[in-house]
């Protein structure tokens, strides 16, 4: 009997809304959307947590400009680090940002451990930066974080949508809450994603134009909050969360 499972619901009970930012495909901008969404909601005065569950390639800390990898403080468990007002938890606090060569069972164990020891307290939103695909992490979040709602990210590419579509089908089959799909890095007026989602009877939330200056804002939360990227994201999520 794994005793850790019994405490996870308790750790998450004071969180009003849990948003898992997911995609079937890597490189579509999940981490940027998850981090930006968390920063933006936090700036608006909400109590927000950001949990990076991309254990092989964690990148939220890079986007947020985190350079302090010291252990989290302890208080009946561990407390998330603060990035301004945002509560942030990532594997990087335990790996010193070194590579993490992990098998599936190890991934599951780390997710269970992080969920059972992190004391988030009362939050309006917990944003989870998910790794790509429909593997262990996605299945673990579906199993362990029962109230997670999925915000799915794709690019306009048919290749990306090929993989994203599979994630959406699984989420639909399991009758999980899908907030909708964001089309990131839009370059032209293609309607391919919108049409694909219409066929799947899923909500197209809107698009984020390719922001050529975005790279300059990586690691600088204040600059990121003023980017065109976040301006587009804001229009999309308004009234959706």
């Amino acid at each position: 009997m794994d005793v850790r499972l019994s405490v996870i619901d308790k750790r998450l009970e004071k969180i009003n809304k849990i948003i898992a930012v997911a995609s079937g495909k890597g490189g579509v901008g999940k981490s940027l959307i998850a981090s930006s969404l968390a920063l933006d909601l936090s700036k608006k005065g909400f109590r927000v947590g950001l949990l990076d569950l991309d254990l092989y390639g964690p990148s939220s800390h890079i986007i947020l400009g985190v350079e302090d990898f010291s252990f989290p403080d302890e208080e009946k468990g561990i407390l998330p680090h603060k990035v301004d007002e945002l509560n942030f938890m990532s594997i990087v606090y335990f790996t010193e940002d070194k590579p993490a060569p992990l098998r599936g069972i190890d991934i599951t164990n780390i997710i269970i451990e992080l969920l059972s020891i992190t004391q988030w307290g009362e939050l309006d939103y917990l944003v989870i930066d998910m790794p790509p695909g429909i593997g262990d992490e996605t299945l673990d979040v579906i199993k362990l974080v029962k109230k997670a709602e999925f915000l799915v990210v794709t690019t306009p590419s048919k290749v990306a949508m090929g993989a994203v579509g599979k994630l959406l089908l699984i989420l639909k089959e399991l009758k999980l809450q899908i907030i909708g799909v964001v089309e990131n890095m839009k370059l032209d007026k293609s309607t391919f994603i919108q049409k694909s989602l219409k066929i799947m009877k899923l909500k197209y939330l809107g698009s984020i134009n390719f922001d050529y200056n975005l790279e300059k804002s990586i690691g600088k939360p204040k600059s990121l909050l003023n980017s065109k990227f976040i301006n587009d994201l804001n229009k999309i999520i308004k009234n959706q969360l």
Partner: protein, 136 residues
């Protein structure tokens, strides 16, 4: 695992298990803790006692702890070794990180024979309830 989180998880799990067995009172819980967890027994017992204070039905509960040796096996060369040997080569911070998240052993350590990061924890990873004694 963090001692407080462990104590809390353990007691919630024990209460759930006792309810399933239709036990009226839990008298004793025997748990197995993998050495990899590096639980500080004093801190753990303090946490248990603090939680019990707010749970009148757990008054007088005894906790027996069995520490289980953690064994590791390389998937690449089949070499086996003990965590107690591995720990000697870890820095204080690396050991502390493994205490919080045992799987970061794969980040901070390698097979002592072939240097592969692809090894497994074959014994003594986690925490489990071995036995619950109580009144029905």
């Amino acid at each position: 695992m963090h001692e407080w989180a462990l104590a809390e998880s353990l007691l919630i799990a024990a209460i759930e298990a006792a309810e399933k067995e239709k036990m009226k009172k839990i008298k004793e819980i025997t748990i197995g803790i993998g050495e990899l967890q590096q639980i500080e027994q004093d801190v753990f017992e303090f946490a248990i006692n603090e939680i019990i204070k707010s749970q009148p039905n757990l008054k007088g509960l005894k906790i027996k702890i069995k520490t289980l040796k953690s064994k590791l096996k390389c998937r690449n060369c089949d070499n086996t070794w003990l965590f107690s040997d591995m720990k000697k080569k870890l820095t204080e911070d690396e050991g502390e990180a493994i205490h919080f998240l045992p799987e970061v052993a794969f980040v901070h350590s390698r097979c002592p024979k072939c240097n592969s990061p692809d090894f497994e924890i074959t014994e003594g990873r986690g925490v489990s309830i071995i036995q619950i004694k109580g009144e029905k």
